[in-house]
C-alpha cells in the first residue's frame, strides 16, 4: 500500500513587490512512499524540503501537481486524523505548559479523558519530558521544545508521521532518543517521512531515501541501491616494491603512501582496474598484502548529486516573467 504519493508537485512563490516574479521552490517532484517505510527526504539547505512538507500538510497550496496521503488528498480531515507532523524548529503557545499543550491538541482530535490523560503522560515520558511538564513552554530550551514537538506529533497515534528536521537542536542523547522513537514507530507499522540534511541519520534509519536538490528530485531509492554498487576507489597495500616505482604504474594510481615494514598503500581511482595494477606490482617483484574497495557513502552520492545539479542549472530557480 502506498502511504504518500506526489506527482509533478510544483510550487512557485512570487518574489518582489511591484513586479513579482515566480521563484520555483519545487519543480515537478514525484515520489512514492510505501506504508511502514522510513523514508528520508534529503537535501541541502534551501532545496525545498520544508516546502514539500508544507505542501503535504496543506499549509501551502501547490502551483501544480497532485498529492495523496493514505489514498486521499492532502488536507482531507479524514487524513488529518491519521497523520502527525513535527515542523522544523517548532514553536508552541508559551503561556501553556507541555501537559496543557498536549491536552489541548488531544482535544482537537476528540480524545477524551481518561484516555487523554494517560496518553499525554505516556508521551511526555516517552520523549523524556519529566518534571518540566508543568512549566510554561516559554522556559523550555530548543531541544526540549523539539521533544514536545515530537510528542504532539504522536498524540493521535498516527499511521503516518512527517518530521521536518527532527534531530535539529538536539544533543547526542536527544538524537539517540529520537532515533529510537522513529525505529519504534517503524516497528509498530507506522510510516515515517522525515527530512534531514544530516546523512548519518538517514543512513542509520531509512529504508529508502529521496534526494532533493534545487527543488528537483535527483535520486530516489534504498540506501543500499544508492551507495552499494558505487565504488569510490580501491585501497591496495603491497610489499617489496620501492614506493617511487609504484607512482609510475599509471594514471589510475591517485596516491602512494609509504608504510612501516616496507609496505606501501596505493589509492586507486574507481575506474582503475586493480587486476592490472596487481599484475604490474608482481612484475616489479612485489606482492599484494590486501585489496579493499572504498565504498561510497550516502554523503558521497549526495555531494555528487548536488554538484551535478548546480552545474546543470547555474541560472538558479527564478522563472521567466509572464
Amino acid at each position: 500500500m502506498i502511504a504518500i504519493e506526489t506527482e509533478g508537485l510544483t510550487k512557485d512563490f512570487p518574489v518582489g513587490f511591484w513586479r513579482p516574479r515566480p521563484y520555483r521552490a519545487l519543480d515537478g517532484v514525484t515520489l512514492r512512499v510505501e506504508a511502514n517505510e522510513v523514508f528520508g527526504f534529503l537535501g541541502p539547505n534551501g532545496a525545498g524540503k520544508t516546502t514539500t512538507l508544507k505542501l503535504l500538510m496543506r499549509l501551502v497550496y501547490p502551483t501544480a501537481g497532485r498529492i495523496a496521503i493514505l489514498g486521499r488528498p492532502a488536507g482531507d480531515p479524514g487524513v488529518q486524523r491519521r497523520i502527525g507532523f513535527l515542523p522544523e524548529a517548532p514553536y508552541f503557545y508559551d503561556y501553556l505548559t507541555a501537559e496543557e499543550l498536549l491536552t489541548y491538541f488531544a482535544g482537537l482530535f476528540g480524545i477524551r479523558n481518561p484516555d487523554r490523560r494517560t496518553r499525554v503522560s505516556a508521551l511526555l515520558d516517552r520523549v523524556g519530558i519529566g518534571g518540566e511538564r508543568r512549566l510554561p513552554l516559554r522556559k523550555f530550551s530548543k531541544g526540549m521544545l523539539q521533544r514536545v514537538g515530537l510528542a504532539q506529533a504522536l498524540i493521535n497515534d498516527p499511521e503516518v508521521v512527517f518530521l521536518d528536521e527532527p534531530m535539529s537542536g538536539l544533543d547526542p542523547i536527544g538524537r539517540r532518543d529520537v532515533r529510537d522513537i522513529i525505529l519504534s514507530l517503524r516497528d509498530r507499522g507506522c510510516t515515517v517521512f522525515f527530512s534531514s540534511h544530516i546523512l548519518s541519520d538517514a543512513e542509520a534509519l531509512c529504508s529508502r531515501v529521496g534526494m532533493l536538490v534545487g527543488g528537483k528530485m535527483v535520486a530516489t531509492g534504498s540506501v543500499s541501491e544508492l551507495v552499494a554498487f558505487k565504488v569510490a576507489g580501491w585501497d591496495l597495500v603491497v610489499a617489496g616494491v620501492d614506493p617511487d616505482r609504484l607512482g609510475a604504474l599509471g594514471p589510475g594510481v591517485r596516491a602512494v603512501v609509504s608504510m612501516i615494514g616496507g609496505r606501501s598503500a596505493l589509492d586507486l581511482a574507481p575506474e582503475c582496474e586493480p587486476e592490472r595494477v596487481i599484475a604490474a606490482v608482481r612484475d616489479l617483484g612485489g606482492r599484494v598484502v590486501s585489496l579493499n574497495p572504498l565504498r561510497a557513502t550516502l554523503e558521497d552520492v549526495f555531494l555528487a548529486q548536488v554538484r551535478a545539479s548546480q552545474a546543470a542549472s547555474p541560472a538558479g530557480r527564478m522563472m521567466p516573467e509572464g
Binding site: Y91, Y93, F109
Partner: protein, 270 residues
C-alpha cells in the same frame, strides 16, 4: 466542529488571562475609586452623573484597547511564530480556527465588560450609601443604580465585536502595527460615517457623492452604538433601537469575520 471551536475560543481566553490582559480590571477599579473620591470633593449634585459618564466612557476605552491590541495579534502572532502549523495540520480547518479566535476574544471582552460594569455599579452603590442625600437629588433625573446603563454597556459590547472582527480581519494578512492603525482608523471613521450619507450636500461632484455613498454602506457605522449620554441623563433607549443596532452590529461583524475566514483559507504559510 463546535468542540474544536470551543477549544480554540477557550484557549484565546486562557491566553488573555495568562498574558495578564485582565490586569486592566485592576487599573479600571483604581480609576473608578479615585474618580469617585475626587468627584465627591469637587462637585455638588453632579457626582452620580459624572461617575456614570466616566464609567461608561472608561468601559468603552478599555474595551477598545483590549479589542484592538489583542485582536491584531490573534492570527498574526500565530503565523509569525509558526504555532499555527501545529494546529492547522490537525482536524481543525482554517475557517473554524478563525471563528474560534473571534469567539474567544468576544468571550474575553464579555468577561471584561461584565467585571467593569459591576465595578461601576459597586462604586455607585457605595456613593449612595455614604451620602443618602445624594441619592434623592439624583432620583430627579435617574436613579443612582440605574439598570438602563446596561443598554449602553451592551451596545458598547456589540460595537467592540465589530472592532474585534476588523482587527481579526487585518490580522489575517498584515502586521500588528498596520492592523492596529487600520482598525483605529476605521473606528474613528465609523463614528463620522453618517456624514458620508449626505455628502452630496457639500460637494458638487456626482462621482464623489456616489463614492461617499458607497463608502457609507461599506464602512462600519459606529455612531448609533453610542447611547452613553442618553442613559446618563435618564433617558430610556427603546428596546427596538437596541435590537436593531445589535442586529446591524452582529451582521457587520459576521460579514467581516467571513471575509477574514476567506482570506485566511487562501493563504500560503511560507
Amino acid at each position: 466542529m463546535p468542540r474544536v471551536l470551543g477549544l480554540i475560543a477557550y484557549h484565546v481566553f486562557k491566553e488573555s488571562v495568562r498574558d495578564k490582559v485582565l490586569y486592566n480590571l485592576v487599573l479600571f477599579a483604581l480609576l473608578m475609586i479615585s474618580a469617585s473620591y475626587l468627584v465627591g470633593q469637587l462637585t455638588a449634585g453632579q457626582d452620580i452623573k459624572i461617575i456614570k459618564d466616566l464609567g461608561l466612557a472608561a468601559i468603552a476605552v478599555f474595551g477598545l484597547f483590549i479589542s484592538v491590541f489583542t485582536g491584531v495579534g490573534l492570527v498574526w502572532k500565530e503565523v509569525d511564530r509558526r504555532s499555527v502549523y501545529n494546529v492547522l495540520v490537525k482536524p481543525v480547518g482554517r475557517q473554524p480556527f478563525i471563528l474560534g479566535k473571534f469567539v474567544g476574544l468576544a468571550l474575553t471582552l464579555f468577561v471584561n465588560l461584565a467585571a467593569m460594569t459591576m465595578a461601576v455599579y459597586l462604586v455607585l452603590v457605595v456613593m449612595a450609601w455614604v451620602d443618602p442625600g445624594l441619592a434623592k437629588t439624583a432620583v430627579m433625573e435617574a436613579p443612582v443604580v440605574d439598570p438602563r446603563l446596561l443598554s449602553a454597556v451592551w451596545l458598547i459590547y456589540v460595537q467592540l465585536l465589530v472592532v474585534t472582527a476588523l482587527a481579526l480581519f487585518f490580522s489575517t494578512f498584515s502586521s500588528p502595527m498596520l492592523s492596529a492603525a487600520l482598525t483605529f482608523g476605521l473606528y474613528v471613521v465609523g463614528h463620522f460615517n453618517a456624514d458620508l450619507a449626505h455628502f452630496e450636500n457639500v460637494v458638487e461632484s456626482k462621482t464623489a457623492a456616489v463614492v461617499a455613498r458607497a463608502l457609507y454602506y461599506v464602512l462600519p457605522n459606529l455612531a448609533p452604538f453610542d447611547v452613553k449620554t442618553a442613559v446618563v441623563h435618564g433617558e430610556t433607549v427603546a428596546a427596538g433601537y437596541v435590537l436593531l443596532t445589535t442586529g446591524y452590529g452582529l451582521l457587520y461583524a459576521a460579514a467581516v469575520v467571513a471575509l477574514a475566514m476567506l482570506v485566511f483559507s487562501r493563504r500560503d504559510f511560507k
